[in-house]
């Protein structure tokens, strides 16, 4: 039994994320059009909405972009959101698990844009993998496959 217990925290984290997502939709009437925001540790002059890195430049006309200086000399706040607010079905749990929520793709692009602006590259995971398919490993794989597009930012 103990051999499978280690998967429980993963499942719990997944459940927590799902609960958060669900509660967000019921308690947050702006969930669909809320800005996705990161703070980039670069001056405002280097984070131009007209010259964004490729991950965000790939959304021409499909996203709104807002930049403003972050307080306390923390760089520049970069915010994006889809011009067309996703439907409830597009942001549903099945859509998110399938990776079909448009905000997932945008969140991933936003993170990558921040990494490019700050560090000059997006850190890639190791390859080729050393892992093998096991029931617990498949669960972790599912979580990690979506992890880049999920989260609070």
């Amino acid at each position: 039994m103990k051999k499978v217990w280690w998967t429980i925290p993963v499942a719990a984290a997944s459940v927590a994320a799902v609960r958060k997502a669900r509660s967000g939709r019921t308690a947050d009437d702006r969930a669909g059009d809320r800005w996705l925001t990161v703070t980039v540790n670069r001056p405002l002059a280097e984070v131009s909405p007209d010259d964004l890195p490729e991950p965000l430049a790939a959304f021409p006309g499909k996203i709104e972009v807002r930049v403003r200086p972050a307080p306390g000399d923390r760089g520049t706040e970069l915010a994006v959101r889809p011009v067309q607010v996703p439907t409830a079905g597009q942001t549903s749990l099945p859509a998110r698990l399938a990776g079909e929520d448009p905000r997932q793709e945008l969140r991933l692009a936003l993170r990558r844009a921040k990494a490019l602006l700050e560090a000059g590259e997006v850190l890639l995971p190791d390859a080729p993998p050393t892992t093998r398919p096991t029931p617990g490993g498949k669960l972790v794989e599912m979580v990690t496959r979506r992890a880049g597009g999920e989260g609070v930012l």
């Binding site: 925290p9 993963v10 990161v38 850190l123 050393t130 096991t134 490993g137 992890a147």
Partner: protein
């Protein structure tokens, strides 16, 4: 190449895995010279850290020789002997720029998991689960080092491999505990745990001018080692009422600073241990905070408690009342190694720090599972097992 892989709860094996590749311009590849077991590995080996997959290469505290550099690497060249920080930092996000390297925004390739668990993700770390980035660990013949200009440090001639090895993780972790806890000249400092991190925290407190440093453990060899190489007083908690002893040694005040260097699998000889063990095994709490509770109770009014041990999730019976009513400062952090490693290499070279004694055993990579078994069971006086390819 050969590597030590996590195969399941309490199952390790040495496997043949693909060689690492340069995946980013700022990567480099190092050939392992030496790595070491770390207490935090025991948590993931035992299944207490989420998001491990069968076949994951573990290990995060290591020293190597540069064999290949990406086109974006400027500060290292092939042949350099480097100690590599266990946490990976991009060097340019706000957290790295403010020397809070274990909080890097750009080095965790799976940020959604950390955000679900903690609210915000941590930095990536070598070989420490997919929640911490999923990057391969260092118990392998070759290791990929991302953001190499920021995470790898050339070891000065004159410092031997074994001494330098611990500057990868345990020395800066201990040093950070004393530093961020704000140890000042004249302080009395108590340290829970006499493993490598606890010893280094105690030594850092001494070097920062603490009047008295009292280290607590139950393993005779570790207590003796702490007295001999660190210069701290020691207490065996199986023979002494720790709270009473600390009160007596501090004129009734309690320690000014309490540093916990034990972590989520704390042991004690009181009923709280059985309670915590039962709850952890039933997964009603993820971590056992036995030493943290004791540190909070023992600390003087308006003192500081620093949690250095690794904790992953939620604990039960956390004495928040003591924190509030005694006006304590409670702080914790994973290791901001890049902030301290250059200074620590200088202190090592100057003889102010001694670390070689921590390496009680040396085994080959083929024997790495045995090394972890010895380390976990603390057999034959094992404090740290050094693993060489």
């Amino acid at each position: 190449m050969k590597a030590l892989c996590w195969e399941g709860v309490n199952k390790l094996s040495v496997e043949n895995v693909p060689d690492p590749e340069l995946r980013n311009d700022q990567d480099m590849i190092v050939r392992l010279i030496a790595g070491t077991t770390c207490g935090s590995d025991l948590h993931l080996i035992g299944g207490y850290i989420p998001a491990m997959r069968a076949g994951d290469v573990i290990g995060h505290e290591f020293l190597g020789e540069v064999v290949e550099t990406g086109p974006g690497v400027r500060r290292h060249k092939v042949g350099d002997r480097v100690v590599v920080c266990s946490f990976i930092g991009c060097g340019r996000c706000w957290y790295c720029a403010n020397d809070l390297w274990s909080l890097c925004d750009n080095s965790n390739t799976n940020p959604g998991i950390g955000q679900a668990l903690f609210g915000y993700e941590t930095a990536g770390i070598f070989g420490y689960s997919h929640a911490m980035g999923g990057l391969r660990g260092s118990h392998a013949e070759y290791v990929r080092v991302p953001f190499a200009d920021y995470g790898a440090f050339q070891v000065p001639e004159g410092i031997d491999d074994t001494s330098a090895l611990f500057v990868s993780d345990s020395v800066p972790t201990g040093w950070m505990g004393a530093d961020l806890a704000g140890v000042r000249p004249g302080d009395v400092v108590a340290v829970w745990g006499c493993g490598a991190v606890g010893q280094m925290a105690a030594r850092a407190a001494i070097l920062k001018g603490a009047e008295r440093v009292i280290a607590i453990d139950r393993i005779p060899e570790r207590l003796a080692m702490t007295e001999r190489y660190v210069g701290a007083e020691t207490l065996d908690y199986t023979r002494t009422d720790i709270a009473a002893e600390l009160r007596e040694r501090t004129g009734g005040r309690g320690p000014d600073v309490c540093i916990e260097a034990v972590g989520m699998e704390a042991h004690s000889d009181g009923p709280a241990y059985l309670y915590d063990q039962a709850k952890q095994q039933l997964r009603l709490q993820t971590d056992r905070p036995t030493a943290v509770r004791q540190a909070i109770h023992a600390c003087r009014k308006a003192g500081t408690v620093f949690v250095l041990g690794v904790f992953a999730g939620a604990v039960d019976k956390f004495p928040l009342g003591a924190v509030v009513n005694k006006g304590l400062t409670v702080r914790g952090a994973q290791m901001h190694g890049q902030r301290y490693i250059p200074t620590l290499l200088e202190k090592l070279a100057a003889g102010e720090l001694k670390t070689a004694h921590l390496a009680t055993h040396t085994l080959s990579l083929d024997e790495a599972p045995t090394a972890y078994e010895m380390f976990k069971e603390k057999t034959d006086g094992c404090v740290r097992a050094v693993i060489r390819p």
